[in-house]
Symmetry: C2
Subunit: 201 residues, 2 copies
C-alpha cells in the first residue's frame, strides 16, 4: 500500500489521535468514494489552521487573531479569572458551565524535572496581569494530578500575596458515578474533602 | 466557535466517518498543540489524493494510475478473478488471505429501485473481460445482503453462460463466534448451509 497515494493518505491520517490502521483506511475510502468535497475542504481548512493559529497574546489560548474571542468579548466579567492547563479545558468549561469570566491558559503544569518552570507556563505574564488588573477571584482549574496540585499551590501563593481570593474547582465522585467503580485516589480525596450535610439545601 | 478558524477545523474534521464533535475537538487540539507537521502533511496528502485518485481502467479499484498495483503486477494469477463490491473488500481480502489472483470491483450492488443496474456496476466491462480473457474461476465475494445475493446470482448466470466455474465465499458463524451472540439471519444461514462432518479432515 505504501508505494501509492491511497496508502500515503491512510498513513497520513494516523497522525490523528485515536486513529489506528483500520479506521484510517475506512476514513480514506469514505472520503474518496463518498465525500471528496469534504476531503478537499478539510485539507484547505487544516492547512490554513496549521499556519495561522497561534496564541492569544492575553490568555495564551489558541486563536488566529491577536486576541481570542473570549478576551475580546467586552461583555465578559473581568472580576473572575479561571486558570486552566490547556485549551481543551477552556472548551470543556465553556460547554458545560455558565462561566462568563476570563481565562488564562498555562499550556502545561509545573514539572521541574521536565524543565517546565513558571516562565514556561507564562506565570510571569499572569503575575503582571494580577498586578495591573487584579480580578476579584482567581479560580484554579488545574487537573488533580501531582503536578496540577503543585501548580495550584503556586497559583494560590501568587494570588494570596496580592490579596486576591482563590477558589479551586471541586474534585470528588462524579455525579451518577458509583463508588465501587471510582478509582481509589478519587474516592480517598472525596472522603477526605467531605462537607457537612445540610438536608434540603 | 464557528466564527473562528479552530471552530472551522473542528467542523471540517466531522466529514471523517465516526468522528463526532468531541473527537473532532480532540483531533484539532492535538494537531495544533503537538503535531503541526503531521497536520500539514495530512493536508497536503489529502489534497493530492482527492484530486489524483481515480479508478483503475481494468478492475475499477481506486488508484492514481491508469492500472492499479494489483492489475499491473505480472506475478498474479490471471486464472482467478474475485468480484467484490468495494475497494475496502479488496483491502480486507489482501490483508486476511493469501489470494494471488485478480479483482474486479463493482462499486455497489444491483439495486434496480435505486437505479443501480448492470452498467452502473461495470458489468458490461466485466462481461467483455470474461469473453476476451476468461479466468478459470470466478470467485464471488459480494456481501450476504439481499442486493448482494441478487448481484451474486447475476454474476453466476454471466459466468455460467461462458462455461466459467463460479465459487462463492462461505458465510456462516465467524470462527471464535458464539452461537448465542450471532444474529438470527447468520445463524439460520449457517444452519441451512451445514455440511457433512468428516472428522480429522
Ligand atoms: Zn485570549
Ligand atoms: Zn486494477
Amino acid at each position: 500500500m505504501q508505494d501509492n497515494l491511497l496508502g500515503s493518505l491512510v498513513d497520513a491520517l494516523r497522525c490523528l489521535p485515536g486513529v489506528g490502521p483500520k479506521s484510517a483506511q475506512r476514513m480514506a475510502l469514505h472520503l474518496l468514494e463518498r465525500d471528496r468535497e469534504g476531503g478537499r475542504n478539510l485539507s484547505r481548512v487544516m492547512a490554513e489552521a496549521m499556519e495561522r493559529i497561534g496564541r492569544c497574546t492575553r490568555c495564551r489560548d489558541l486563536t488566529e487573531r491577536e486576541l481570542c474571542s473570549i478576551c475580546s468579548d467586552t461583555r465578559r466579567d473581568d472580576g473572575l479569572l479561571c486558570i486552566v492547563e490547556s485549551p481543551v479545558d477552556v472548551l470543556a468549561i465553556e460547554q458545560a458551565t455558565a462561566f462568563r469570566g476570563r481565562y488564562f491558559v498555562l499550556l502545561g503544569r509545573l514539572s521541574p524535572l521536565d524543565g517546565i518552570g513558571p516562565e514556561e507556563l507564562g506565570l510571569d505574564m499572569l503575575e503582571e496581569r494580577l498586578d495591573t488588573e487584579p480580578p476579584q477571584e482567581l479560580i484554579v482549574a488545574t487537573n488533580p494530578t501531582v503536578e496540577g496540585e503543585a501548580t495550584a499551590y503556586y497559583l494560590h501563593k501568587m494570588a494570596e500575596a496580592r490579596g486576591i481570593s482563590v477558589s479551586r474547582i471541586a474534585h470528588g465522585v462524579p455525579l451518577g458515578g458509583e463508588l465501587e467503580y471510582i478509582d481509589q485516589t478519587t474516592l480517598a480525596h472525596a472522603f477526605g474533602s467531605r462537607q457537612s450535610f445540610t438536608p434540603g439545601r
